[in-house]
Amino acid sequence: MSVEGSVTVIEPSKGWVSLRLPALWRARELLYFLIWRDVKVRYKQTLLGATWAILQPLLTMVVFSIFFGKLARMPSDGVPYPLFAYVALVPWTFFANGLTLSSNSLVANQTLLRKVYFPRLVIPVSAVAAGLIDFGIAFVVLLGLAARYGVPPTPNLIWLPALVLLALVTALGVGLWFAALNVLYRDIQYIVPFLVQVWLYATPIVYPTSLVPERWRTLYAINPMVGVVEGFRWALLGTSTAPGPMILVSAMAALATLFGGLFFFRRMEKSFSDVV
């Protein structure tokens, strides 16, 4: 056996523990299989299957277009309101689902936690990453919608992967905190949906960032989803708000959340199987 001579030392961990990223890397195949499981299982007993990946942002867009676009006459940076809303809703849906699923992921997989060892980080990571498939489907619809409204994508499209990564990092960063806390306090289950709802309005989805006074925008961008949504509009619709500085602030905030979340998660990890 190739692993002959490998020694595992089991000791109580003390204080702030290392992230053990090599162990996470070695578990990449497990990560792959868990993502695959989540994707496969998600729509297995639903009537409409993967259509939900399209319906969720699409129906929200219709509702927003009627109430905010038509009735409230919300400005939309010169873009047709349905497209303006949908381009934000695609990354938002990915983020919101990722956050919700990762927050519940440890509790949902508690039998695994109690029986087998593997880096626990794999669980919330797979919960967020599985949403990428849905995102992909919704994104194709987005391209179709943009073409239908005659809005060609800009060359800034190449930045999209980075923006998707930013959304993923944000969802995971916050999800890690909640996933670990959820093991101890099931209150989190009630907090998350509420938080997602509030967060939606703290993000420029129904309204444009141009409504926010210039000098507040940096502060506003501490909400990492501001950077993501602004970036998406800029890259796909060519809206003129130069979002560079905002995305930078958002990225820093997201990374801070992620690293905080990683360490917190690792610190709590040892008690998971005692408590779940």
Binding site: M1, V3, E4, G5, S6, V7, T8, V9, I10, E11, P12, S13, E29, L30, Y32, F33, L34, W36, R37, K40, V41, K44, Q45, T111, L112, L113, R114, K115, V116, Y117, F118, L184, Y185, R186, D187, K270, S273, D274, V275
Partner: protein
């Protein structure tokens, strides 16, 4: 492979404590936690002795041992003795509170077969998923896929979601994946308690196979026969501490002599709360060896009594006892009632506290757990019944096993007379004793 005296597992002074508070009220709410945090702070400030000490469960206390490469070590002990916690510490599922353990080589654990199986996924999909969870590489699973399917005997249903599997099929598939893990150190927790006899044989065979290939096995079971058959060495745990560590046969024998039988006595002192109805109230149920106490062990060679005490609350009730004894497979081993009824049973004014004693001879029941269901009937009417009156364990008598080390099959284990005759030519039989 290195020489056989190399160490595979080294456990040094490992202790594990669980905070009972966290376990019992299962999900503390944030509010409770904040409140108790505040209480603790106040206690610390007022330097009052915290009551935390009492709420700590010591699952393992200062456990140290070493296992040589290629050795098969058994862990025995009553429920809650810390066997499973020890395995979980070694499997890194639970972190030790103090102490240290070393594992030399890749570890595989069968803490519970089928962990991570998903009901909606097919057998094929679950093999891959479960394999990955147990730590197999994808190409490793691919290589062994056919072997796993063949071992599990579910070929025909391999593309059916496992939610449609029978529990036997589910189990076979789960064990098949785990059995093909081929780790250098294998932790096994009571997998043999499940499945039918044929499949158990297969599992045992697989484990012997693993052992023969120089792998190290740590094995937890309540099946003492399997323990003796499989293990070179056995550690006996009680309340988180090692009681004895030595050759399998000796430790198992000491353990069996020491264990009290399962809850073989139940008593209700207050007729108002005792199980029963307006006709009858239970007072006690117990199982004990003839002339012994309820805590004494019963083996297949022990004659014992099953006793029922009850109050007759209704002087006109005609109460005839009926006893069902079930074995672990749920089979009714026998159903009996007294053949001759004492005449007082027919009289309205009899004694009010009654004790019925059923004498069970030696060499009748097979070993294993037995459940007693008790009923009081009047003709075809059931006046009162108790499905789960008492449970008792019949232990194997090791010295009377003969050459066979496996489980003796059957609901009963009678000791029957045998004799042998031989003949050189037909017609001239001679008897041997």
């Amino acid at each position: 492979m290195t020489a056989h005296d190399s160490i595979a597992i080294r456990v040094q002074h490992v202790s594990k404590q669980f905070r009972l508070g966290a376990r019992q009220n299962k999900y503390p709410t944030l509010r409770e936690s904040l409140a108790s945090g505040a209480t603790r702070l106040v206690q610390r400030l007022t330097s009052k002795d915290s009551s935390d000490e009492r709420r700590i469960l010591r699952a393992l206390e200062d456990v140290s041992f070493e296992v040589r490469t290629g050795e098969t070590l058994g862990l025995i002990g009553a429920n809650g003795a810390g066997k499973s916690t020890l395995l979980k510490v070694l499997a890194q599922v639970v972190e030790p509170t103090t102490g240290r353990a070393e594992l030399h080589g890749r570890l595989g654990s069968l803490l519970e077969v089928g962990t991570g199986f998903h009901q909606e996924l097919t057998g094929r999909e679950n093999i891959y998923l479960n394999g990955a969870i147990l730590g197999m590489r994808r190409n490793e699973i691919q290589q062994k896929f056919d072997e796993i399917v063949a071992f599990s005997e579910v070929e025909r249903f391999i593309d059916t979601p496992v939610k449609f599997y029978s529990s036997g099929m589910y189990l076979r598939l789960a064990f098949a994946v785990a059995a093909h893990l081929e780790p250098e150190i294998l932790l096994v927790d009571e997998v043999l308690a499940v499945g039918d006899a044929a499949f158990q044989q297969k599992c045992m065979g697989k484990m012997s196979d693993v052992a023969r290939h120089g792998r190290t096995i740590l094995f937890v079971s309540h099946n003492m026969i399997a323990m003796e058959a499989m293990c070179d060495r056995v550690i006996w745990l009680r309340e988180g501490r090692i009681v004895e560590d030595g050759p399998a046969r000796a430790v198992v024998a000491h353990y069996l002599r020491n264990v009290a039988t399962t809850q073989a006595e139940r008593e209700w002192s207050d007729p108002a709360t005792a199980p029963g109805n307006e006709h009858v109230r239970m007072h006690a149920v117990r199982v004990r060896p003839e002339g012994g106490r309820p805590s004494d062990a019963i083996s297949v060679e022990t004659a014992f009594t099953i006793e029922f005490e009850y109050w007759r609350a209704d002087a006109n009730a005609r109460l005839i006892p009926s006893v069902h004894v079930f074995n672990q497979q749920g089979v009714i081993v026998f159903n009996v009632g007294p053949v001759e009824l004492s005449p007082w049973r027919e009289r309205p004014e009899g004694p009010t506290l009654i004790r019925d004693v059923c004498h069970v001879p030696a060499s009748l029941l097979n070993d294993g757990l037995h459940r007693v269901a008790f009923a009081l009937v009047d003709g075809h009417d059931v006046v009162f019944s108790m499905d789960d009156a008492v449970t008792f364990d019949v232990q194997d008598a090791l010295e009377l096993r003969g050459a066979w080390y496996g489980k003796w099959e059957g609901a009963v284990r009678p000791r029957l007379a045998w004799h042998t005759e031989t003949a050189v030519e037909s017609g001239t039989w001679s008897t041997h004793r």
